[in-house]
Symmetry: C2
Subunit: 456 residues, 2 copies
């Protein structure tokens, strides 16, 4: 039986772990559009970016030609504390669903940050340390990125200042405590500590905050302090580069057993997990060596790819950040308060936006009660309690598997299980109590929010 | 370099996983004392026990002669969803401490129940299902066992009724929601649902509940319903048997690299993790094939081994359960309310009690602020946020490593990292805020509580 041949969990040896990140931009014929200076409308130079980001990260951000970028030994050593992550064959899910599909998921939740975010956090902290910085600033929403960065900074002895979206700060005190365990300082955003925070608080009294607004604060805090830089957990091309470790391991594990996926599915907020997971496979597709279907799954309440516009927009609410060309809902867009979990950013990685625009990737949006139903189903058969974010991918993977059940096709489905849901039990409770609701923004709301995007 | 030879994480192949549990009682010259019927004072028969426990589990409970008991294929398949668990070389901890000691930990937290408890939960659920039962009842304190049992019951389609110590039910609503995600019903204990619950509520109005009291309720609920049996997550010999999978994997991983530990350390509440971890090594010691030091670590606030008495006592507060000969603080003992986390049972596994009494194992107690300091130190260097329970073992492993630093000895230290602390952030917060206190019961308190133990 095949079951004998393919284990439940495919682990690579440490010696088989990637030694270089894969830079998908090198294989893209049409490169993602450059970041623009909002003042001049011209592409940002390395010198300009280096006020905000570490020098090496600026170089990575601008590098769209080198296919591979070596992973420094110090980062590889850290990776070994929680990587390689398992590629799991979902035998129990397949059996329960009665599907002939072969389902695999790459599980990134087996580390204390609870998600894939640590893959980039440790890289960014390393380059900050190497540059001799005192510390870094960042924002966090649901808290996965902030937790990951706190862990990474603690490892390298860097100061870590996290602006946490106010509503999450209040609703997720335990996330905050994990960050404190790792020595980070956590400030609810918008705060009165920064100029932009004070301005937003004045303009929108009693606001719950948003990711875009916390980004503005973190950038201001980094650029007005000696020895600090700003770091970001998604959206940027450098982050997708670091997250390519997910896809490289996935591909190595599949290759080991001669498995070729038909479809690769990932949830998409800013795009770091999806981009990292699909990159090496997309590279093959771009080079004409293989073909795959790629599916980005986003929440119906924050549908940047499926309902946004592909234009230049601000990366943050306070409009202090560069302009990025991306699928966007407008930098002022805020998902409805009933939206649980992450995947709440108004835009999408420039790389993924370009690939989607060229028709190389599909996108679909799903409602949150369906997502939680899939999450619970999955938890009961596969044992893992998924993060709401990850459950978006589960939902669509199960939909694909159900199609296979109906048609009898034995497709191979791979999806990214980005993290665990331990800190999302308030949302699970709402779901159990039948109090979870769905929200889909109207066309008018999106149009209104998009009107603020600069028309470039 | 040795670092090149021994990976950060030693994973066994699925084919190297144990196919039989190891029963340490078979190698004990003096067997643990039998469970007694509290009415007659005579050893309980299989027939008597089978009113409370599943038949196969009764057989395992009474079996002190078979060295190996095969693990049914269905359980081995489930194990493959989250096992083998990694044996981690704590390179970062060693380096940070500057110790020549070689530190390994067996990490059991990489599953959604967050602890080793799942190893026995799935076995007990399997035998209940095999016997054609409708469901099982149990108690839970900190919630790890209840979560594990909920997952196991959901896998086999069994009804699962959990009595959760009232104070934990109120303080840990998220634990409760995880159990609900897996379909369990969770009742705060003492409840008004059972006779014993009503009696305890009447006798101690406003009580916060205790493990011993929740056990009484769960046993009553099982024995008064058709098609139900009671299951327990620690203390019993059958549980130590199932948990031997921890020790067997640890030993196989060490053997693979020719490593012989000098000292093996585990936290001890009821003793399931420690017993499981040390069993195969203890077997070698009992058979005269090798020698090891074993150290049980218990909280200073609930010090059954270090300050209890080795006598027959009730396993529960309501005195409806059998009598077990064990190190006990008295069945009415309740740790001070400022005690965080688990390890709050008044007694200790009969197997471990006997081994300790014969001088084959050491025991030490530690204060909780020291434990949380060790937990935070460990989290920052090794990346894993430990459960407070597990941090007891970390504390003593670090103490041993520190001794090596002072003497220059290159000892090999192995400890059990039983689980993660995601649901213990209230306690971490207290620690961060400097509000955590230590409590050590007085001799008078222990003597008073012990006075209730039957003097057999």
């Amino acid at each position: 039986m095949e079951k004998e041949k393919i284990p439940y969990k495919i682990y690579l040896e440490e010696s088989e772990m990637p030694t270089a990140w894969y830079n998908v931009r090198a294989d893209m014929k049409k490169k993602p559009a450059p970041l623009l200076n909002p003042g001049t409308g011209k592409p940002l130079t390395a010198a300009e970016l280096s006020h905000v980001f570490c020098d090496e990260l600026v170089a990575q951000e601008l590098n769209d030609t080198d296919r591979y970028i070596p992973i420094p030994q110090e980062i590889r050593d850290f990776y070994k504390m929680y990587r390689p992550s398992p590629l799991v064959r979902a035998y129990c899910l397949e059996q329960k669903m009665g599907t002939p599909a072969k389902i695999y998921y790459k599980f990134e939740g087996n580390n204390t940050s609870g998600s894939h975010k640590l893959n980039s956090a440790i890289a960014q902290a390393y380059y900050a340390k190497k540059q001799g910085l005192v510390g870094v600033t960042t924002e966090t929403g649901a808290g996965q990125w902030g937790t990951a960065l706190s862990m990474a900074c603690s490892y390298f002895g860097l100061d870590c200042k996290v602006y946490m979206v106010k509503v999450s700060y209040e609703q997720k005190p335990f996330r905050r405590e994990v960050m404190r365990t790792y020595g980070a300082s956590v400030t609810p955003s918008p705060s009165m500590e920064t100029e932009v925070g004070r301005r937003i608080n004045k303009e929108f009294p009693g606001t719950n905050g948003s990711l875009g607004c916390a980004i503005s604060e973190a950038v201001e805090a980094a650029t007005t302090r000696e020895g600090y830089r700003y770091v970001l957990g998604s959206v940027l091309s450098q982050v997708l580069l670091h997250q390519s470790v997910i896809g490289l391991e996935t591909k190595a594990a599949l290759d080991k057993y001669g498995i070729k996926p038909d479809v690769i599915i990932g949830c998409a907020g800013g795009g770091s997990n999806l981009g990292g997971l699909i990159s090496p496979f997309m590279g093959e597709k771009l080079r004409g060596e293989a073909d795959y279907r790629f599916v980005a799954v986003e929440p119906a309440s924050c549908p940047s790819l499926t309902r946004g516009r592909y234009v230049y927009d601000f990366c943050d609410t306070g409009k202090v950040c560069p302009l990025a060309k991306m699928y966007t809902l407008g930098s002022g867009f805020m998902p409805s308060p009933n939206h649980a979990g992450g995947l709440r950013y108004h835009g999408m990685s420039s790389i993924l936006s370009e690939l989607y625009d060229e028709g190389l990737m599909e996108a679909v949006s799903v409602g949150q009660t369906d997502v939680f139903a899939a999450a619970e189903y999955f938890a009961r058969v596969e044992g893992i309690l998924p993060a709401p974010e990850s459950a978006h991918a589960i939902k669509v993977a199960m939909d694909e598997a159900e199609k296979c059940r109906l048609t009898g096709e034995e497709k191979t489905i791979v999806f990214g299980l980005t993290g665990t849901g331990y800190f999302d039990m308030v949302a699970y409770q709402k779901f159990h109590d039948g109090q979870m609701t769905d929200y889909v923004p109207t066309d008018e709301e999106i149009a209104k929010s998009l009107a603020s995007a600069p028309q470039i």
